[in-house]
Protein backbone atom coordinates (compact mmCIF):
# COMPACT_ATOMS: atom_id res chain seq x y z
CA UNK A 1 0.00 0.00 0.00
CA UNK A 2 1.58 3.30 -1.00
CA UNK A 3 -0.31 6.55 -0.47
CA UNK A 4 0.10 9.31 -2.99
CA UNK A 5 3.40 11.06 -2.53
CA UNK A 6 4.84 8.34 -0.35
CA UNK A 7 7.61 7.65 -2.77
CA UNK A 8 8.77 11.27 -2.63
CA UNK A 9 10.59 13.00 0.19
CA UNK A 10 7.34 12.92 2.14
CA UNK A 11 8.09 9.29 2.88
CA UNK A 12 10.86 10.33 5.18
CA UNK A 13 8.83 13.03 6.93
CA UNK A 14 8.73 12.49 10.65
CA UNK A 15 5.39 13.26 12.30
CA UNK A 16 5.46 16.45 14.32
CA UNK A 17 6.30 16.10 18.00
CA UNK A 18 2.98 17.79 18.82
CA UNK A 19 1.01 14.65 17.99
CA UNK A 20 0.50 12.08 20.78
CA UNK A 21 3.02 9.26 20.49
CA UNK A 22 0.45 6.65 19.46
CA UNK A 23 -0.78 8.88 16.63
CA UNK A 24 2.78 9.63 15.56
CA UNK A 25 3.50 5.92 15.34
CA UNK A 26 0.29 5.25 13.45
CA UNK A 27 0.94 8.11 11.03
CA UNK A 28 4.49 6.95 10.39
CA UNK A 29 3.21 3.43 9.64
CA UNK A 30 0.51 4.81 7.35
CA UNK A 31 3.11 6.77 5.44
CA UNK A 32 5.23 3.66 5.06
CA UNK A 33 2.22 2.09 3.37
CA UNK A 34 1.58 -0.38 6.19
CA UNK A 35 -1.73 -2.04 5.35
CA UNK A 36 -2.38 -3.09 8.94
CA UNK A 37 -1.98 0.52 10.02
CA UNK A 38 -4.76 1.58 7.68
CA UNK A 39 -7.00 -1.14 9.06
CA UNK A 40 -6.21 0.14 12.56
CA UNK A 41 -7.14 3.64 11.42
CA UNK A 42 -10.47 2.45 10.03
CA UNK A 43 -11.33 0.38 13.09
CA UNK A 44 -10.19 2.95 15.64
CA UNK A 45 -11.73 6.08 14.12
CA UNK A 46 -14.47 4.58 11.95
CA UNK A 47 -17.17 4.40 14.62
CA UNK A 48 -17.18 8.07 15.44
CA UNK A 49 -16.84 9.07 11.78
CA UNK A 50 -19.68 6.78 10.75
CA UNK A 51 -21.88 8.46 13.36
CA UNK A 52 -20.98 11.84 11.84
CA UNK A 53 -21.92 10.57 8.39
CA UNK A 54 -25.20 9.07 9.57
CA UNK A 55 -26.39 12.22 11.30
CA UNK A 56 -25.38 14.34 8.33
CA UNK A 57 -26.73 12.46 5.35
CA UNK A 58 -29.39 10.46 7.22
CA UNK A 59 -29.59 7.61 4.71
CA UNK A 60 -27.65 4.51 5.70
CA UNK A 61 -26.51 3.91 2.14
CA UNK A 62 -25.27 7.48 1.70
CA UNK A 63 -23.53 7.34 5.08
CA UNK A 64 -21.65 4.20 4.03
CA UNK A 65 -20.65 5.84 0.74
CA UNK A 66 -19.56 9.01 2.53
CA UNK A 67 -17.43 7.07 5.01
CA UNK A 68 -15.79 5.02 2.26
CA UNK A 69 -15.10 8.14 0.18
CA UNK A 70 -13.67 9.84 3.25
CA UNK A 71 -11.20 7.08 4.06
CA UNK A 72 -10.16 6.88 0.42
CA UNK A 73 -9.64 10.61 0.39
CA UNK A 74 -7.65 10.39 3.63
CA UNK A 75 -5.45 7.70 2.12
CA UNK A 76 -4.78 9.86 -0.92
CA UNK A 77 -4.06 12.91 1.25
CA UNK A 78 -1.75 11.32 3.82
CA UNK A 79 1.28 13.01 2.35
CA UNK A 80 -0.42 16.39 2.65
CA UNK A 81 -1.51 16.02 6.29
CA UNK A 82 0.37 18.84 7.94
CA UNK A 83 0.12 17.48 11.46
CA UNK A 84 -1.09 20.77 12.86
CA UNK A 85 -4.09 19.00 14.39
CA UNK A 86 -5.00 15.57 15.78
CA UNK A 87 -5.60 12.73 13.34
CA UNK A 88 -9.18 12.56 14.58
CA UNK A 89 -9.74 16.24 13.75
CA UNK A 90 -8.24 15.81 10.29
CA UNK A 91 -10.41 12.76 9.60
CA UNK A 92 -13.47 14.57 10.94
CA UNK A 93 -12.98 17.40 8.44
CA UNK A 94 -12.59 14.90 5.62
CA UNK A 95 -15.77 13.00 6.48
CA UNK A 96 -17.72 16.27 6.85
CA UNK A 97 -16.53 17.28 3.39
CA UNK A 98 -17.51 13.92 2.01
CA UNK A 99 -20.99 14.28 3.53
CA UNK A 100 -21.43 17.77 2.09
CA UNK A 101 -20.54 16.47 -1.36
CA UNK A 102 -23.07 13.69 -0.93
CA UNK A 103 -25.75 16.16 0.15
CA UNK A 104 -25.01 18.38 -2.84
CA UNK A 105 -25.59 15.52 -5.24
CA UNK A 106 -28.84 14.63 -3.47
CA UNK A 107 -30.20 18.18 -3.25
CA UNK A 108 -32.53 18.28 -6.19
CA UNK A 109 -35.95 19.42 -5.03
CA UNK A 110 -36.80 22.94 -3.94
CA UNK A 111 -36.60 23.56 -0.19
CA UNK A 112 -39.59 24.44 1.93
CA UNK A 113 -39.52 27.98 3.23
CA UNK A 114 -38.35 28.47 6.80
CA UNK A 115 -40.53 31.56 7.28
CA UNK A 116 -43.47 29.66 8.75
CA UNK A 117 -41.22 28.35 11.53
CA UNK A 118 -39.90 31.75 12.60
CA UNK A 119 -41.39 33.98 15.30
CA UNK A 120 -43.91 36.55 14.10
CA UNK A 121 -44.22 40.18 15.08
CA UNK A 122 -46.87 42.88 14.88
CA UNK A 123 -46.17 45.97 12.80
CA UNK A 124 -45.16 47.82 15.97
CA UNK A 125 -42.43 45.20 16.58
CA UNK A 126 -44.08 43.33 19.48
CA UNK A 127 -44.26 39.54 19.50
CA UNK A 128 -47.44 38.35 17.78
CA UNK A 129 -47.54 35.30 20.05
CA UNK A 130 -45.72 36.08 23.31
CA UNK A 131 -43.22 33.38 24.24
CA UNK A 132 -43.73 31.35 27.39
CA UNK A 133 -40.64 30.07 29.20
CA UNK A 134 -40.04 26.35 29.09
CA UNK A 135 -40.46 24.70 32.46
CA UNK A 136 -37.24 22.73 32.57
CA UNK A 137 -33.61 23.59 32.00
CA UNK A 138 -31.58 21.97 29.22
CA UNK A 139 -29.71 19.85 31.79
CA UNK A 140 -32.95 18.37 33.09
CA UNK A 141 -34.47 17.97 29.62
CA UNK A 142 -31.38 16.17 28.34
CA UNK A 143 -31.80 13.42 30.91
CA UNK A 144 -34.69 12.20 28.79
CA UNK A 145 -34.02 10.01 25.78
CA UNK A 146 -37.37 11.18 24.39
CA UNK A 147 -36.24 14.81 24.43
CA UNK A 148 -33.06 13.93 22.54
CA UNK A 149 -35.17 12.10 19.95
CA UNK A 150 -37.52 15.07 19.80
CA UNK A 151 -34.63 17.47 19.17
CA UNK A 152 -33.12 15.24 16.48
CA UNK A 153 -36.49 14.92 14.76
CA UNK A 154 -36.92 18.70 14.87
CA UNK A 155 -33.44 19.23 13.40
CA UNK A 156 -34.38 16.87 10.57
CA UNK A 157 -37.45 18.99 9.82
CA UNK A 158 -35.36 22.06 9.03
CA UNK A 159 -34.83 22.98 5.38
CA UNK A 160 -31.56 21.38 4.28
CA UNK A 161 -29.54 24.58 3.84
CA UNK A 162 -30.38 25.59 7.42
CA UNK A 163 -29.94 22.11 8.87
CA UNK A 164 -26.48 21.91 7.32
CA UNK A 165 -25.32 25.16 8.90
CA UNK A 166 -26.76 24.15 12.28
CA UNK A 167 -25.02 20.77 12.08
CA UNK A 168 -21.67 22.27 11.15
CA UNK A 169 -21.74 25.05 13.77
CA UNK A 170 -23.58 23.64 16.76
CA UNK A 171 -22.98 19.91 16.46
CA UNK A 172 -19.74 19.43 14.56
CA UNK A 173 -18.40 22.58 16.27
CA UNK A 174 -16.78 24.16 13.22
CA UNK A 175 -16.23 27.89 13.49
CA UNK A 176 -18.05 30.44 11.35
CA UNK A 177 -15.12 30.97 8.99
CA UNK A 178 -14.62 27.28 8.24
CA UNK A 179 -18.36 26.73 7.83
CA UNK A 180 -18.48 29.63 5.38
CA UNK A 181 -15.54 28.20 3.43
CA UNK A 182 -17.05 24.72 3.22
CA UNK A 183 -20.42 26.02 2.06
CA UNK A 184 -19.06 28.79 -0.14
CA UNK A 185 -21.00 31.40 1.83
CA UNK A 186 -20.02 34.66 3.48
CA UNK A 187 -19.53 34.54 7.23
CA UNK A 188 -22.49 36.87 7.62
CA UNK A 189 -24.69 34.49 5.63
CA UNK A 190 -23.61 31.64 7.92
CA UNK A 191 -24.55 33.69 11.00
CA UNK A 192 -27.93 34.58 9.54
CA UNK A 193 -28.70 30.98 8.61
CA UNK A 194 -27.58 29.69 12.00
CA UNK A 195 -29.75 32.22 13.80
CA UNK A 196 -32.79 31.42 11.69
CA UNK A 197 -32.20 27.69 12.11
CA UNK A 198 -32.07 28.07 15.89
CA UNK A 199 -35.17 30.27 15.88
CA UNK A 200 -37.05 27.77 13.74
CA UNK A 201 -35.95 24.92 15.95
CA UNK A 202 -37.12 26.76 19.04
CA UNK A 203 -40.50 27.14 17.34
CA UNK A 204 -40.62 23.44 16.49
CA UNK A 205 -39.77 22.42 20.06
CA UNK A 206 -42.03 24.95 21.75
CA UNK A 207 -45.32 23.01 21.62
CA UNK A 208 -43.67 20.06 23.38
CA UNK A 209 -41.66 22.02 25.94
CA UNK A 210 -43.86 24.95 26.93
CA UNK A 211 -45.90 24.64 30.12
CA UNK A 212 -49.28 23.02 29.63
CA UNK A 213 -51.99 25.65 29.16
CA UNK A 214 -53.92 26.40 32.33
CA UNK A 215 -57.52 25.13 32.27
Amino acid sequence: MSPEGRRSDDAARTPAPGLPSDERALLAALRRGDEEAFETLVREYGGRLFAVARRFVRSEEDARDALQDAFLSAFRSLARFEENCRLSTWLHRIVVNSCLMKLRTRRRKAEDSIEDLLPRFHEDGHQAVPSAGWEKSADVLLESREVRDLVRAAIDRLPESYRTVLMLRDIEELDTAETARLLDLTENAVKIRLHRARQALRGLLDPSLRPAAAC
Partner: protein, 88 residues
Protein backbone atom coordinates in the same frame (compact mmCIF):
# COMPACT_ATOMS: atom_id res chain seq x y z
CA UNK B 1 -36.35 51.87 22.47
CA UNK B 2 -35.53 48.36 21.27
CA UNK B 3 -38.51 46.43 19.91
CA UNK B 4 -39.13 42.68 20.37
CA UNK B 5 -38.40 42.20 16.66
CA UNK B 6 -35.06 44.03 16.94
CA UNK B 7 -34.10 42.05 20.03
CA UNK B 8 -34.99 38.76 18.30
CA UNK B 9 -32.60 39.67 15.49
CA UNK B 10 -29.80 40.12 18.01
CA UNK B 11 -30.23 36.89 19.98
CA UNK B 12 -27.38 35.03 18.30
CA UNK B 13 -24.90 37.81 18.99
CA UNK B 14 -26.32 38.29 22.48
CA UNK B 15 -25.93 34.62 23.39
CA UNK B 16 -22.48 34.42 21.78
CA UNK B 17 -21.46 37.63 23.61
CA UNK B 18 -20.72 39.41 20.36
CA UNK B 19 -22.90 42.45 21.03
CA UNK B 20 -21.22 45.77 21.75
CA UNK B 21 -21.61 47.16 25.26
CA UNK B 22 -24.32 49.69 24.33
CA UNK B 23 -26.35 47.15 22.37
CA UNK B 24 -26.02 44.60 25.17
CA UNK B 25 -27.25 47.13 27.75
CA UNK B 26 -30.21 48.02 25.52
CA UNK B 27 -31.03 44.34 25.09
CA UNK B 28 -30.85 43.71 28.84
CA UNK B 29 -33.09 46.72 29.51
CA UNK B 30 -35.66 45.38 27.05
CA UNK B 31 -35.57 41.85 28.49
CA UNK B 32 -35.98 43.20 32.02
CA UNK B 33 -39.28 44.81 31.03
CA UNK B 34 -40.63 42.26 28.56
CA UNK B 35 -41.65 38.83 29.83
CA UNK B 36 -42.15 37.48 26.31
CA UNK B 37 -38.62 38.40 25.25
CA UNK B 38 -37.15 37.10 28.53
CA UNK B 39 -38.82 33.77 27.77
CA UNK B 40 -37.72 33.90 24.13
CA UNK B 41 -34.12 34.50 25.19
CA UNK B 42 -34.18 31.68 27.75
CA UNK B 43 -35.77 29.30 25.25
CA UNK B 44 -33.20 30.26 22.60
CA UNK B 45 -30.37 29.45 25.01
CA UNK B 46 -31.99 26.16 25.93
CA UNK B 47 -32.45 25.32 22.24
CA UNK B 48 -28.73 25.83 21.61
CA UNK B 49 -27.83 23.62 24.59
CA UNK B 50 -30.28 20.94 23.43
CA UNK B 51 -28.90 20.95 19.90
CA UNK B 52 -25.30 20.73 21.09
CA UNK B 53 -26.10 17.68 23.20
CA UNK B 54 -28.65 16.02 20.92
CA UNK B 55 -26.14 13.53 19.55
CA UNK B 56 -24.43 12.76 22.83
CA UNK B 57 -25.31 9.91 25.11
CA UNK B 58 -26.66 10.69 28.57
CA UNK B 59 -23.09 10.34 29.86
CA UNK B 60 -22.05 13.22 27.62
CA UNK B 61 -20.09 11.14 25.10
CA UNK B 62 -20.63 11.58 21.39
CA UNK B 63 -22.57 8.81 19.72
CA UNK B 64 -20.60 6.22 17.82
CA UNK B 65 -22.00 3.96 15.15
CA UNK B 66 -20.37 0.53 14.83
CA UNK B 67 -18.97 0.18 11.33
CA UNK B 68 -20.34 -2.99 9.76
CA UNK B 69 -17.58 -5.49 8.99
CA UNK B 70 -18.46 -5.61 5.29
CA UNK B 71 -18.05 -1.83 5.14
CA UNK B 72 -14.63 -2.07 6.81
CA UNK B 73 -13.61 -4.65 4.23
CA UNK B 74 -15.03 -2.56 1.41
CA UNK B 75 -13.03 0.48 2.58
CA UNK B 76 -9.83 -1.55 2.85
CA UNK B 77 -10.44 -3.04 -0.58
CA UNK B 78 -10.99 0.38 -2.18
CA UNK B 79 -7.78 1.68 -0.61
CA UNK B 80 -5.89 -1.40 -1.84
CA UNK B 81 -7.24 -0.78 -5.35
CA UNK B 82 -6.23 2.87 -5.20
CA UNK B 83 -2.80 1.82 -4.03
CA UNK B 84 -2.44 -0.70 -6.85
CA UNK B 85 -3.50 1.99 -9.30
CA UNK B 86 -0.55 4.07 -8.25
CA UNK B 87 -1.33 5.59 -4.91
CA UNK B 88 -4.73 7.05 -5.76
Amino acid sequence: MLTCRALAAQLLDFVDKNLGADSRRAALRHVAGCGGCAAALANYRTTVDLVRAAYESSSGLRDEAPVPEELVQSILSSVRTASDDGGG
